[in-house]
């Protein structure tokens, strides 16, 4: 049981770090992929994920990234609700459909964040970075899915071993 949670926490920590550490690849600094969104989308698709967990994760992300408190929580929760609603459909499909589904979710999340930020600051923020970030996230999704799936398999494995 502790092993399960430990594994999830470790995976989450890695994602958090990926979202926060400085990446000095010029021009890439502006368009960080949405790692946390990938995890929420993929894991929610595969298994029931605790909503409170995603909420708290969102708050933690807001705190570290200096976003308005609640923004990432809001976006991740909506993504989770949307994915949960379509779980039955998504589970039976090929990976390409899963991938396309993520692209849609990523676009929605990007647009939502952009809208909220523009609204909060009473100005229109440049949309280019958001678009590039969505594209990059969609492109990297299959790569990031591999470790995410591994974590999920490990969790399932432990589940079966338990008496």
């Amino acid at each position: 049981m502790i092993g399960q949670w430990g594994l999830v926490l470790l995976a989450v920590l890695v994602l958090l770090l990926l979202s926060a550490i400085p990446l000095h690849i010029v021009h890439l600094a502006e368009i960080r992929p949405m790692f946390m969104l990938m995890a929420v989308y993929y894991w929610t698709m595969l298994r029931p994920t605790p909503v409170v967990g995603v909420f708290l994760l969102g708050l933690l992300l807001d705190n570290i990234l200096d976003y308005p408190l609640g923004m990432n929580a809001f976006v991740l929760l909506l993504a989770q609700i949307l994915t949960t609603h379509n779980r039955k459909f998504l589970l039976g499909q090929s990976f390409l459909v899963t991938w396309a589904g993520f692209a849609v979710v990523a676009l929605g999340a990007g647009v939502l964040e952009w809208l909220l930020f523009s609204l909060f600051n009473f100005t229109v923020i440049a949309i280019k970075s958001m678009v590039l970030s969505v594209i990059l996230s969609a492109v990297l999704f299959p790569v990031v899915v591999l470790p995410l799936a591994a974590v999920n398999r490990a969790l399932l494995g432990r589940h079966h071993d338990a008496p």
């Binding site: 550490i21 609640g70 930020f117 923020i125």
Partner: protein, 271 residues
């Protein structure tokens, strides 16, 4: 649909609004969170940054030779400037003594590596692994090797957050180098910053250096911030003197700042 998700969504929305209204007493909590994450971020970001920098720095030997030659020439020029500076400093000192000028307080600073940088066009701030224990205060100027890059906006015990000059909320009182015109340099969450509150008919020219004016007693004066790159109908735009997106090591200038000015709270019992 179950109620919990909806409640949490509304809660997040409420938090956002409250955050905007600035009514949440979250500063202590945020500071504690920063301090908690700081060691982890420091430990992880060091090797990653090292690897990335190495990949970026793999230049051909021809580039290295050319760079070497350029640096030697620059070194030669700088040596001459160094000697001139020493002479001027001595002269300055004797004038100050003659005039009985009150000495400026010595400026101390602490150097730190950026450990967290979300990037993106929404938030322009970075995290540093130095805090109140290193005499960092809210409002302190943060410099790169070339000039001002931001100001400290939150301080924990062992970490602090810096608002970069390109952020929407960043407004710096500045002065233009040659004309001595004063203005406010506002970040726009973009590569360039905009000069605002310009007096009418100020002759702006591309290439003018923009420095801090020290007005308001918040930031030290005469810190380079950027250069004007465009003057037109859409305003005067300034390019930061440092590459804001790839900050590595920065210096936080320790100067005692009047905290009532920083907090905007002028009631006598403030903090």
């Amino acid at each position: 649909m179950r109620a919990t998700p909806i409640i949490l969504v509304l809660l997040s929305l409420a938090l956002m609004v409250l955050h905007k209204a600035d009514t949440l007493p979250v500063e202590r909590f945020r500071a504690a969170m920063m301090d908690a994450m700081s060691p982890v971020l420091t430990a992880v970001s060091a090797p990653v940054t090292a690897v990335v920098d190495n990949i970026g720095g793999m230049a051909s030997s021809r580039d290295l030779k050319a760079e070497n030659i350029r640096l030697e020439e620059e070194n030669g020029r700088l040596q001459k400037w160094y000697e001139a500076a020493l002479k001027l400093q001595a002269e300055n000192q004797s004038f100050r003594e003659l005039l009985n000028v009150k000495a400026d307080p010595t400026i101390t600073f602490v150097t730190a590596r950026v450990i967290s940088d979300a990037g993106g066009s929404f938030v322009k701030s970075v995290l540093l692994p130095v805090g109140a224990r290193d005499r960092v205060q809210k409002g302190n100027a943060v410099m790169s090797g070339h000039g001002l890059v931001g100001r400290v906006m939150e301080v924990g015990q062992t970490s602090s957050r810096v608002l970069l000059v390109t952020d929407l909320n960043s407004h710096i009182p500045v002065i233009l180098q040659n004309t001595r015109t004063k203005a406010i340099l506002a970040g726009k969450n973009q590569d360039l910053m905009k000069l605002e509150r310009l007096p009418p008919d100020s002759g702006m020219t591309v290439g003018t250096r923009v420095m801090t004016s020290g007005d308001g007693g918040q930031l030290p004066a005469d810190l380079p911030v950027g250069t004007i790159v465009s003057v037109g109908a859409d305003g005067v735009w300034v390019k930061p003197i440092s590459d804001i997106d790839t900050l590595s090591y920065v210096q936080v200038i320790n100067a005692d700042i009047d905290q009532t000015l920083v907090n905007g709270d002028i009631s006598p019992a403030a903090k």
